[in-house]
Symmetry: C2
Subunit: 425 residues, 2 copies
């Protein structure tokens, strides 16, 4: 029961997977009954040192896809093109595809899944979200019968590493980012991670599988961590919170809302304990209650393990001739306008310390339908810092209130605004 | 794409599932493309009120299995017989079977899985372990390529509910058990839960899927919570621990060890935060690192959700004519002798408060190869309580040390012994 495997991409995950396929062939065969044969690995350059023997490497990715000995294709190149064309080429040739490419799946998931189904094969992407944590399969299969209401979690390891380091060491964002880049936790170009794009792609995929409706990328609200200040991390800790970059997907009567933004998380919440590059996701539904998944969100080994689980499945498909994953049905799904989404906010205001300041601030919030939950004052003598946490109110109301407050004479600066999640999530 | 479903067992989970199949048919069809038709439900008695219309009910379970309109069978009766015979009857007729029966799967998993494979159908049992938490599928499929080393967790909701209540309310075991029975958290006959049998069955299944070797029931070390005293729960809290009933499966060079026993868990460990009837499981392996799954461990709704996920899969199998789950291969697997397994122990000793007591106790531990990590003394004036936590040592050495200590003149009583897990697990 041998199945030939072709890999597109010889980077960290691709290299680790190639190594695993060579070294662990007997172990995998003993457990699964399937012998996986690495055939070829498409790489960008042949002159780079690899963790697998050089004679597997080729720069001709299309030839790997077309090789008759390659019965299933693993796409680990990342990015949209040429990944998309190569994946379509493999599917059209009736070869199942395993990918860890969240950008590709988020942008073209439904069409690629349809194309796979058309040709009677599967597109598997367990490693696209949550690295080594099994999330896709539970959502698509184990929870297929549940009307899920919310998926919420930490799905980007780089930003969690940075926020954790900022908190534990009291250091500013820029400094921690540079260190993370030196240590390999952040890319040379960190934009996709720190600006929330990576998390948004993953949130789109999770929402699609959880609710059966795919939200277009431009309907996903996206804020990164680039504006998070060390001062706020220290302030909110005293209020009983830490700061995390959250991906939130909610299915309400008003539609599906998918968003990525930093949020204050209560310190006794399980998400607060997710440190370093780990990922963790909550899944909520009326019948299943609350499920929590935590594990390594990135890294060659965990991600390659998730890919390998999919590869074994795809190999079963090749051997049996029948698709191993269900055809997922995507409905139209109404995207909810982010302006309607209700959250709490934390607002840091630099104000003049004069009588009546709090009253005019509370008045401005109130006029826009936002009520205050708690206020904390720091400093005295001319200038003061006010830390305000509001009750739930619509995004649009919050923004209008903040604009009005920024215009008050007593307010020198709206120094920070960060959303807050309650203890019940 | 209609598929007829027969259910064996009309209790909490069976009733909830029947209700779901009737009420949520359209939702399930929209998400999965499959229309599930409830055909019949086998019950023990017809004169009991059910959550589904009475005309579905029959007392003839074999007739449900044999009904040509029933294309897949859901076994929710529990116990070994007649469940085993009925499951075999269905598999032999080429009907896939979904079961939540941990006792049956633990005792006869490999032979039932073989029989299913023989007839080209699947036996699915996601709900047998961890209620609504997807665990079986990740272990059997997503992590199929990983050499897992350890699975450890809280897999019995009843005992966790009791231990949580004993801790938070400072009440004795017997009293809390009786309350749990009144509230429906514990059975009228609680033996299977409180004596560890239920957890042991689940541990066997988890170990079998994680390591590919099925450990015979009599090789699973099993201790329940019936001897846990409120006093120890209070004492260990001051030492920074809580008490949990743990299922532990380890794959070492010396073989596979599966055990269920109460253990002290550090208060800052994620398992310490698992309260009430929740379940949580850690899965560890060299590549994947550490994965953590948490959710509702029991209850009609979460369990029925897990069953429904399997039912949708089984229906896909019926429609495609090809098995949806991989044939799991079980090796011979050497069971490791529990006497060799190394753990730490917490020991509470009632001693005479005289000079030299600690020296003779330390001497007795040391003569049996057990070294002491910490000692805490309570009380003064004639009698004292010593709380001892040891370093890792083999089970057999610990037992011999405790026997020797029990025989010392200065020791009035070995009042409690509970194993301890370290902060690294």
């Amino acid at each position: 029961m041998r199945v030939g495997v072709g890999i597109l991409g010889g980077g960290t995950v691709g290299g680790t997977l190639a190594r695993k396929l060579i070294d662990d062939q007997a172990v995998i065969a003993a457990k699964s009954g399937i012998e996986l044969d690495l055939v070829r690995v498409a790489v960008r350059r042949l002159d780079k040192a690899r963790s697998f023997p050089g004679d597997y490497a080729t720069t001709d990715a299309a030839a790997v896809v077309d090789d008759p000995a390659v019965r299933l294709v693993v796409e680990l190149m990342g990015g949209i093109e040429p990944a998309r064309s190569l994946v379509e080429r493999a599917l059209s040739a009736g070869k199942p595809v395993v990918t860890a490419n969240k950008e590709l799946v988020a942008a073209h998931g439904p069409s690629l899944i349809s194309k796979a189904a058309e040709h009677g094969v599967s597109l598997l992407f367990e490693a696209a979200v949550g690295g080594g944590i099994p999330l896709i399969r539970p959502l698509a299969e184990s929870l297929a019968g549940e009307r899920l209401t919310r998926v919420l979690g930490i799905v980007n390891g780089t930003t969690n590493y940075i926020l954790t380091a900022m908190e534990s060491q009291g250091r500013p964002y820029r400094e921690v980012l540079e260190e993370a880049q030196r240590l390999g936790y952040a890319e040379a170009d960190p934009a996709a991670d720190v600006e929330g794009g990576d998390a948004a792609a993953k949130a789109t995929i999770l929402a699609g599988l959880a609710f059966g409706s795919w939200v277009e990328g431009d309907r996903v609200h996206r804020e990164g961590i680039t504006d998070i200040q060390a001062a706020d991390i220290a302030f909110v800790r005293r209020l009983g919170y830490c700061v995390k970059l959250l991906a939130v997907a909610e299915n309400t009567d008003g539609g599906v809302a998918v968003r990525v933004h930093p949020a204050l998380v209560p310190l006794d919440h399980p998400l607060a304990s997710v440190r370093g590059a780990n990922n963790a996701v909550f899944v909520q539904g009326p019948a299943v209650g609350e499920l929590f998944f935590m594990g390594p969100g990135a890294g060659g080994d965990p991600t390659a393990t998730a890919v390998l689980g999919d590869v074994i499945d795809a190999a079963r498909e090749v051997l049996s001739g029948t698709r191993v994953v269900p055809r997922i049905q995507f409905g139209a799904g109404r995207a909810r306008d982010f302006a309607e989404v209700e959250t709490q906010w934390y607002v840091r205001l630099e104000v003049v310390d004069a009588p009546g300041v709090l009253a005019s601030i509370a008045g401005a919030f109130g006029r826009h339908g936002v009520s205050i939950k708690s206020v904390w004052q720091e400093g005295r003598g001319g200038a003061a810092t006010l830390l305000v946490v509001t009750h739930d109110a619509a995004e649009a109301d919050h923004r209008r209130a903040i604009e009005a407050i920024g215009g008050l004479d007593e307010v020198k600066q709206v120094a920070a605004t960060i959303r807050v999640i309650g203890p019940d999530v």
